[in-house]
Symmetry: C2
Subunit: 327 residues, 2 copies
């Protein structure tokens, strides 16, 4: 057997970070970034072999709508701007839970980076409406809204859509965060925003885009309200949120060449007040992969520090005001 392993290693030191607010532990490993295939470029496109069931005119291909914003037409006819239908392949069915699809636009292939702002605002309005509606269903305790964009993020359709799941339990991650956040005293996310200096991508009206302290994968970035608020479905400035969301989507697409993305809304439970919770929208570009280490340990390896991620996203921001031109 050859001598001890120590002598043969000679790379940059890694850094282990733990975020008590989320319970996430991450090994930041700069040396991994040199791996030839650290970012996966198998940008497989979604292949749709039949007419898109989310396009106007194909309403009969979906389940019956439960909500829509319309210019004209009866339910399940064209004329809608946003349309919500139960998922045809639901993970949960009533009365256990609800699994819905929010069709965010009539325009096939539209992206949040270039969509009219009003469209994003109306998609967010549909999110709010359905959260409020499903919070009145007996037994529903929590909900999550997520958007899988691109094949590597789990999407099977190009047409812009998100999904809502209303659950008969508090999701484990939310449960952890509710217990970890002090019921009295300073909000950990408000404090986090104060201490985020090098991790801020931008501030846009009432919202801040921040690379989190313990980002699970490279370039994870969150959008949070700067003023403490526990529930997404109660906010009024949807136009401001739509603007910040579009700006962040542009940063991500520009910096990372239109990657696959998972976006997740984290908001307070539906069945009880949680004034100490701080809602957020998580944006997770899918450049890496989940493999044996993550499955085994429950922690993550990330080759890009959040400070580095924020810097790259900042530099890619097409909507930033150049220094000197700021008001």
């Amino acid at each position: 057997m050859s001598p001890a392993a120590v002598a043969v290693y000679n790379w940059d030191l890694s850094e282990v970070r733990f975020d008590p607010a989320t319970g996430r532990k991450v090994i930041y490993a700069p040396a991994r970034a040199r791996r030839p295939s650290d970012y996966r470029t198998d940008l497989r496109e979604i292949v749709e072999t039949r007419a898109c069931p989310f396009c106007p005119g194909n309403e009969r291909e979906t389940t019956k709508e439960v909500f829509a914003l319309r210019d004209s037409g009866a339910p399940d006819e064209p004329g809608w701007r946003v349309r919500v239908v139960p998922n045809r392949y639901p993970a949960l069915t009533p009365p256990q839970g609800f699994h819905e699809v929010i069709i965010e636009s009539p325009v096939h292939g539209e992206r949040w980076s270039t969509a009219p702002l009003r469209r994003i605002e109306e998609a967010l309005e549909a999110w709010q409406e359905r959260l409020r509606r499903l919070s009145r269903e007996p037994g529903i305790r929590g909900a999550v809204i997520f958007k899988n964009h691109g094949w590597r993020a789990g999407a099977t359709r190009v047409h812009p859509h998100s999904q809502l799941m209303a659950l008969p339990f508090i999701p484990p991650q939310l449960d952890y965060e509710l217990q970890a956040a002090p019921a009295a005293g300073p909000c950990p996310w408000c404090r986090g925003l104060e201490n985020a200096a090098g991790r801020v991508v931008f501030e846009n009206g009432g919202y801040a885009a921040v690379a989190p302290e313990a980002s699970r994968q490279a370039y994870e970035v969150w959008l949070l309200p700067k003023e403490h608020a526990s529930r997404f479905e109660e906010i009024r400035d949807l136009a401001g949120l739509a603007g910040a969301l579009q700006r962040l989507w542009r940063c991500v697409e520009s910096a990372l060449h239109q990657p696959a993305v998972n976006a997740m809304l984290m908001t307070a439970p539906l069945d009880a007040a949680a004034p100490h919770y701080h809602w957020r929208l998580e944006i997770l570009p899918r450049l890496g992969t989940i493999a044996g280490f993550e499955w085994a340990t429950g922690c993550y390896i990330n080759s890009v520090l959040p400070e580095q991620a924020a810097e790259r996203l900042r530099r890619a921001d097409p909507d930033s005001v150049p220094p000197g031109e700021a008001g």
Copy 2:
């Protein structure tokens, strides 16, 4: 707005399961199995554009070996049967941690389903040897060994290999399991084996292959010692384990058409006794994907109940003794 959502749902009921021993929560959703793309068939092959650094003769392409089982030759020369080298792109470096690659065979492309049993046994021997060696390093608290097999499982090389990471902390998942298992009283995994009836794939010598109560993805299956044992690195019957592991690998390849697989060794901490822990090897075929729901909630959606998974794996078992032929 159209009427309440309830009327339009009409699928099979889902089932939510929670495993207190692992803290895992899973929504079993049979209706999801009807989704056209529930199993992803983008079986992208690994493309290697240069000579394989793990093949005999290319030893200079790796870091210097820290352990080998050899027929002949000096360190970093051909003649080895199993060879361990520090990972060239380590997630952790000494003294923080160790990240090693176990090259399990000189034969490029060899798989555990068809490899000589003695080869699997020697790979497991190398696992034990390195765990014992690294447990003596100051500051090392826990370790995980994992095998990423196939592109979708995160592998970038075809040559059979696994990885060891020795960590300066107890991994969060292990930490949870140690705290959840009662220090006195019945072992939850021993009890789990007693109650596993419909989830048993086979029993082979001292080992049982079982689909766990809360399987994270379709066809997850575990190999556990039937007699309580907390540490993998202390077991003596490696030949028996190699036989059970090969049999299980054959079941998975046969039932699921050679899928990508993550395999993970869960064993007791290296820095302290944990006699109440029960080690296991987790086998996770990578048929599905991790998307927004899982990232947001920390729980899983699985369209195949573990009882169904075990039945399919049992029927595919090429090494089972047909009824009537059993001794």
